[in-house]
Amino acid sequence: MIINIVFIIFIGLAGGIAVGSGFVAFLTVLGVIPRLTQLSKTMKMIHWYEGSVVFGAVAGTIASLRDPALFLPSIILIPLGLAGGVFVGLLAAALTEVLNVFPILAKRVRIEDKIMILMMAFVFGKIFGSLFHWMYFVNE
């Protein structure tokens, strides 16, 4: 019996370590945090940002495994949604950049100077697609 419990704790811990390190590896490869510190010139605070990511991941894990209800006014969801959206936007932009889509495309069609307008097509496409998805596409 005790062996069973110890074994299950061990497996849970191992799974958590695997997923957690995978999450950190993903963020590291995409370089979202360095990008934010570079923009805000807050390199010295990087340990706090690490802490923030770890704390956020743990809070998200608890919130999804347990079933808490905080009974707060729904207005709080606006900044939360905005923050979540910015984060996903950063990930999407970083992923596009890793895949090297824009330099090759711009070179092919000789529009190195208009690349920002193409970027905007991408950004507006994301916003449009996302709004369309939530407002018309899902019907549950």
Partner: protein, 212 residues
């Protein structure tokens, strides 16, 4: 004699990239930065190193090994010191091809709808709707099938995040550092340059024929 050697020393640094028109003559001062004693400089800087002809394609690699014999022909007993890279990429610019507007609009729309479809697929793939409903329940304690109060700010934030990453609000940049996109464009150009330096330069590869 020792003084003489120093007097005849010429320092050459090949430029990285040079744009010329067809039938241009490329002078030494176009293709390289030169440091030499004034009288020597006058003699060499107008030397024609290469003349662009019909049979050249749009990229020519000028190797310093082709420049040295020309200099030694003009000035005897010259001491040439080469600093930095040993070749220049000469780009022959034919009639400037403008961007065709319909093609540009087509690509713009392609990216727009492609991005829209990709984000919808992503949301379905990671069950974003269920997660948003769950977040709504955690915060307010109530069920909501369409938590638009969360999802509309999320959608706007998505665009803001991408702009933040690329450091541009339309034409206006947030600070002077190059954006990752500009660095990426630069890296891509460097890779292309390295490729043409090796592959378009007939001096850099030699094949010894054994067949008779």
């Amino acid at each position: 004699m020792g003084v003489n050697v120093v007097e005849n020393t010429i320092y050459i640094r090949m430029r990285h990239r040079l744009q010329v028109r067809p039938h241009d003559s490329i002078k030494l001062q176009d293709v390289a930065q030169i440091i030499a004693e004034d009288s020597l400089l006058e003699k060499v800087k107008e030397c024609i190193v290469y003349t662009v002809s019909e049979k050249d394609q749009n990229i020519i690699i000028l190797d310093v090994m082709k420049v040295i014999p020309i200099l030694t022909n003009v000035v005897e007993q010259i001491n040439i010191e080469i600093i930095g890279q040993t070749q220049t990429i000469v780009e022959v610019v034919y009639k400037k091809i403008g961007v065709s507007i319909p093609l540009f609009i087509l690509i713009w729309l392609l990216l727009f709808f492609g991005a829209a479809l990709a984000i919808m697929n992503f949301h379905e793939d990671v069950s974003m709707q269920a997660v948003h409903q769950r977040i709504y329940k955690i915060i307010t304690g109530k069920e909501n099938i369409k938590p638009l109060i969360f999802q509309i700010p999320y959608s706007i934030g998505l665009g803001l995040g991408m702009i933040l990453f690329f450091n541009h609000v339309f034409k206006k940049r947030l600070n002077e550092e190059p954006s990752p996109l500009e660095v990426e464009m630069f890296n891509y150009q460097q890779d292309l340059d390295r490729y043409v330096i090796i592959n378009e330069n007939e001096e850099s590869m030699k094949r010894i024929h054994h067949d008779h």
